[in-house]
Amino acid sequence: MQVEITLEPPPDAAYSARDLGFLLGKHPDRLFERKISVGKTLVFFTSSTSQKAAALLYLDVDPIAMVRGPKRHAAGSLSDYVNDRPYVANSLLSVAIARVFNQALAGTSKDRQSLADQVLPFRARVTPISVAGRPELVQTLFAPLGYEAVARPLGDDGSRPLFDVQIAGTVRLRDLLRHLYVLIPVLDNRKHYWVGEEEVNKLLRKGEGWLADHPARSLIASRALRHQRTLTSAALLRLAEAGGVEADESDPGPQHEAERALEKPIRLHDLRLDSVVSVLREHGAASILDLGCGEGKLIRRLTAEPWVRRILGVDASVAMVKRAVKRLRLSREGATLSERVSVRLGSLTYADRRWSGFDAATLVEVIEHLDPAQLPALQRSLFGRARVGLVVLTTPNREYNALFPGLEPGALRHADHRFEWTRREFREWAESVSAKWGYAVDFRGIGPESGDVGSPSQMAVFKLETASRRTG
């Protein structure tokens, strides 16, 4: 990966293009080499006349040193080792800029300080760079800073096209370097696997004076933040990769956002929670098992209800359980809440002895995330083994999808939904379940009812028929 900085003064300029050498602290007629932590940097001038000078910084990343070095992660997945990081411009190039052009970045020049303080007509070219998002992002990032920017595609071989990015603007050299320093990793937007927290903070410090007013500042800031991975989620990632399937980061966040946005005008999820809570209240369910609790929205609602004595939330994702514990502040608040509420990892397709003895179980928008082939296991574990007295279950009503603007015909509301049922399908399933396991069931719609298609969400309330079971 490389960045080339060109200075081409107007014909009447009072300085020579070769002054670029002074500004950068590199002699235009020499090859500069320096080893840094991640590899070798080289600087040479591709041209060095008084009309035009261009300095090229090339970073030759040592992929082996990088993963063997002191900053090495605990052995990760194979993608930590073989990837485009050593070749396409990313935060490593920012590190190289900071090391090799440290004086220039600070705005000082031993021999040409006045020139360093002036705005000059610079160009910079970064090659190759893999832009996360549309190529227009280059404009979005650099145009507000006064650059003309062009992204030329380098041929599309993989899922992320590579570009040769050129910007031109009349700026101080220190500002040019700082803009590059911060914005190269933002364009790239990949995890800085080998860059420590400290380096990330440096990225943000280099934004002083211009980042605060940048229209895309929130994008820049969020992209510059690095993801944290826990031991368990790292382990999961390895498994996902070993299975030859796309890595599942257990973070369905954005997709949930999409579903919420779709349903937003009717605040459907709030209505759903209202309905579930009122059913639980009607039945005086003091101990509640919330299966598929997600981040704990229903639990939070229930903790506000004085008649609720005990809640166990269960989710199949380690990451989700952690998030729920955090959101519900279970590890922080006084003992009272943690005595009433706990959240545990569990699975709807295994039986679980911890599920017995609850007054009620809730499954709010959960079953549609299971494979239809896994439903029999859920039925056995919940209705057959745990035999909870009251089961409140909601699921989308597929018929209503026709009324959602922006949802293609036949599409499901959420990418992870394995199915969505019509009212009839839901009724048939629920009735066969209740007949088999000795429950009585009735149905309610959730949300505004609309003629032929019913309500957006549907709810079934199963009650264990204890008396008839014992005599029969």
């Binding site: 090859l31 050593p86 790292a234 996902a240 399937v245 990892l345 699975s347 039986a351 082939a373």
Partner: protein
């Protein structure tokens, strides 16, 4: 005084302060056996006399004692325990853990106590011992009623000094008795069937007279012991004769009998207690009324020798009439006695209409086999290491015996139906009790840190974090656990080649095995695709009866993390059908005497499963490396100036060439797989079939057998292989040449294994196989430029220890699970291993190895 206590009991030292309890305790018990309230008071407050710490001290005392009892350790409580309420807490604790509470009482004169306290420098008012002594004496006579099994009272320091203490095993604890045993189900007066069964088992019954009152003697010439699960009488035709025979066997020490609920009721009737003479007791009573008083006394005495249960054979075998939970084995309590007589008696039925008493067996996870009767079943069937052998002889079924350690079931049919069953014995329509139970696994069986014992001489530990990761993966993405009987281990490469242009070379693999003294090897072509396990049954009915799955499938194909290999069920069904057809036409079903097989295979093309990684990782790497090198070459090309950039240009050109090579290697493993015909499946192990795990067959057998099916089905591909004698240079050379040629044509590499599966050598575990990957292929693993000398030299020194340990552990765990499956062990036991392999797979290790 001689004090005899069971070697598992809760001993309570009762007496006022200064009575000599601690001195007695030190003399007769291990220091660790004694939990003292003074010591606990010290532990929580730094002051053994701090009375304000009493509540916390007793909380600690009960907690500590409880943990010891849970672990079946004799425990001595040294506190004054002179008040009834203090003792009742202790008795409760003993009951919870099914331990016998024993009171050793020090009824010592308070003045003696005070003298001692003074001598020990304890500053206590004289009233303290006096009050305590008074309280003690008040309750002394009621101690037995409080629930103590035995009470010994020492009236003076001399008594205490002279006391001898002996420990004995509990009556139920016969762990030293290793049999062999023949365990016999509920007789219920079916004397003829009992005699026939005993004869079938090889017992000799002495001649006897019908109508006599003499006991009937019988013995086995090889000294086997008959163990009866109880319910000897009632409802059947010859109750007295049955009693004569069983009592005769037991009296001579040729047998043992545990008490059933019918025997219990009979003994109450014989003692003259008021009982309802119904449910078949009427028949027994009528017969007994015709016998002499002396005979009835003798029978009553015999019934008195029956135990609640027996704990036999080093703790590996438990006999109880109605079964027994693990926490009650070899223990004593009223709850235990009631459980073993009547089972769980909630009176409810579960979802299948079975009595809820089966609950304990469903939850049973113990190591001991529990053999029981009580509830008639149609067939003696295992459920989680429990076996009910009451096959309803008296209602026209069979009288069943279980032979131990042979683990055989022997049964004789009833001559006729003597009584009408209250309800028909439980039957399950085709599936076994175990399979029915195995419809569901319990999540909480797999959480936390786990230890799994294997038959390969090693117990494998699974850390909690990894256990959870594996559970999440299995529950969110895994196939039905009933199909998921095995997951394959990881495979290690050999040590890095010490020199030359190669990172890996066959010579290092040869050397590894030679060092272990294994010279007869095979080298097999390693296919570059995705690992897949294929479970294929003859037909859906066979699949259902063997695997218990209800999805109507005849087989499944899954990945090495237990996910479905194909996205569509129809693709999977098609592959299963084709492999099944190949099994048919090759005649292998019959040759292997099986209705199902498990194949370990590589499925190509790689791109079919790795599409995502190709797009997000490998192709961008090639493209990035190429673009980066090209950009530099371009810049050097337009540079004017004095700087010598030739070395830089050369290096950039090499990088460009390396990236191009990597792209070629990569694309060789990619092609469109639109239909099943585009796939190539190369099985390399035939791992298991009915009752067989084929790791006892050499790899040559696997290769030959697999080529028999591969020859008949175009999507199946056989594997090129060679045999190598490590000591023959020519053999080694031929393999190296083949490896060079094969990898030069884009092959991934070879796998070198001992010809015979060898899991261990004295003192070490052997790698089941080593993979030797080709020079070009390794670019995909180590990056395009790895073979540049400056990189290669550093890569040669790689740490293999963890990878190899992981491979060995996963191999053992995988095969352990497979053996458990072919032995028809409960699914929970098979799943434990599968889950374990997956959990180990989530341990961090250099993924390039």
């Amino acid at each position: 005084m001689k004090i005899t206590i069971p070697d598992f009991s809760l001993v309570v030292l009762v007496g006022p302060t200064g009575a000599g309890k601690s001195t007695f305790g030190e003399k007769h018990f291990l220091e660790t056996e004694i939990v003292s309230s003074d010591r606990c008071r010290g532990l929580v407050s730094d002051d053994v006399t701090d009375q304000s710490a009493t509540d916390d001290a007793f909380a600690l005392l009960h907690y500590t004692a409880g943990l010891r009892l849970k672990r079946r350790k004799l425990t001595v409580i040294d506190s004054t325990a002179v008040r009834r309420e203090d003792r009742s807490n202790v008795v409760k604790l003993a009951r919870v853990h099914h331990a016998l509470p024993i009171a050793l009482v020090f009824d010592i004169d308070p003045s003696t106590c005070n003298e001692r306290n003074r001598a020990r420098g304890r500053r206590l008012g004289a009233h303290v011992a006096r009050n305590q002594s008074w309280q003690l004496r008040k309750g002394l006579r009621g101690l037995r009623r409080e629930g103590f099994g035995s009470v010994y009272v020492m009236k003076s320091p001399e008594d205490a000094e002279a006391a001898e203490l002996a420990r004995e095993p509990l009556w139920t604890d016969r762990r030293r008795d290793h049999g062999p045993f023949d365990i016999i189900g509920d007789v219920h007066g079916c004397f003829d069937e009992l005699a026939a069964l005993l004869e079938r088992l090889g017992y000799r019954i002495d001649p006897f007279e019908v109508g006599s009152e003499r006991l009937i003697r019988a013995r086995h010439p090889e000294g086997r012991k008959a163990v009866f699960v109880g319910d000897l009488t009632d409802r059947g035709p010859r109750n007295v004769d049955s009693l004569r025979l069983v009592a005769g066997i037991c009296e001579d020490g040729n047998g043992l009998c545990v008490m059933g609920n019918h025997d219990f009721k009979l003994s109450r009737w014989l003692r003259g207690n008021k009982v309802q003479v119904t449910n078949g007791l009427d028949l027994t009573a009528a017969e007994l009324e015709r016998t002499s008083k002396a005979f009835r006394r003798r029978i009553l005495a015999f019934l008195g020798t029956m135990r609640s249960h027996y704990w036999l054979a080093g703790g590996r075998l438990v006999i109880a009439h109605a079964g027994l939970k693990e926490e009650m084995h070899g223990r004593a309590s009223r709850a235990m006695r009631e459980f073993s007589l009547f089972g769980e008696t909630t009176g409810e039925t579960d979802e299948q209409g079975l009595p809820v008493r089966l609950e304990w067996a469903r939850d049973y996870r113990g190591r001991a086999e529990v053999i029981f009767g009580h509830t008639p079943v149609a067939k003696a069937e295992w459920l989680n290491r429990t076996l009910c052998i009451d096959t309803g002889c008296v209602i026209g079924g069979e009288l069943t015996a279980y032979r131990w350690p042979e683990r055989e079931v022997v049964a004789v049919p009833a001559a006729r139906q003597y009584a009408v069953p209250a309800k028909p014995p439980v039957s399950r329509g085709g599936r076994s009790a175990q399979q029915e139970h195995d419809e569901l696994l319990y999540f909480d069986d797999y959480t936390g840190k786990r230890r799994i014992g294997t038959r390969f001489g090693r117990t494998i530990t699974i850390p909690a974090e990894n256990s959870l990761a594996a559970l999440e993966t299995l529950s969110r993405f895994g196939i039905d656990p009933r199909w998921l009987i095995y997951l394959p281990p990881t495979m290690s490469p050999p040590a890095g080649a010490p020199e030359g242009p190669f990172l890996e070379h066959p010579e290092q693999a040869f050397k590894y095995f030679k060092t272990l003294g294994i010279c007869d090897l095979v080298a097999e072509e390693k296919h570059m695709g995705s690992r897949a396990l294929l479970v294929v049954a003859k037909d859906a009915a066979t699949a259902r009866s063997r695997f218990g799955a209800e999805d109507g499938k005849s087989g499944v194909v899954y990945t090495r993390t237990g996910r479905s290999f194909f996205r569509s069920d129809s693709d999977e069904a098609e592959v299963v059908a084709r492999v099944g057809a190949a099994m048919d036409s090759s005649g292998l079903w019959d040759d292997l005497a099986t209705g199902w097989v498990l194949l370990d295979a590589e499925v190509m093309p790689w791109s079919a499963k790795a599409g995502q990684l190709l797009g997000s990782q490998y192709r961008p790497t090639v493209a990035g490396a190429r673009s980066s090198a090209e950009a530099l070459i371009e810049a050097i090309g337009r540079t004017v100036g004095a700087v010598d950039l030739d070395p830089l240009r050369e290096s950039a050109e090499r990088q460009l060439a390396n990236a191009t090579q990597m792209g070629i290697a990569l694309e060789g493993y990619c092609w469109d797989a639109e239909t099943i015909d585009d796939y190539r499946i190369a099985p390399f192990h035939l791992l298991a079939a009915e009752e067989q795990v084929f790791i006892d067959k050499p790899h040559t057998w696997h290769m030959d057998t697999i080529s028999r099916i591969a020859d008949t089905q175009p999507i199946l591909q056989s594997t090129v292989w060679r045999r190598v004698n490590v000591d023959e240079e020519a053999d080694r050379k031929a393999v190296v040449e083949w490896w060079l040629e094969h990898t030069g044509r884009g092959g991934e590499g070879i796998v070198v294994k001992p010809s015979e599966w060898t899991l261990r050598r004295p003192g070490t575990f052997v790698q089941p196989a080593l993979k030797v990957r080709g020079r070009e292929y390794l670019r995909i693993i180590y990056g395009p430029d790895y073979c540049e000398p400056r990189h290669l030299e550093r890569l040669r020194h790689r740490t293999l220890g963890h990878k190899r340990s992981k491979a060995a552990r996963e191999t053992q765990l995988g095969f352990e699970g497979l053996y458990r499956f072919v032995e028809s062990q409960p699914l929970a036991k098979v799943h434990e291993c599968v889950h374990g392999v997956l959990a180990l797979e989530s341990e961090p290790v250099d993924p390039r190895l």
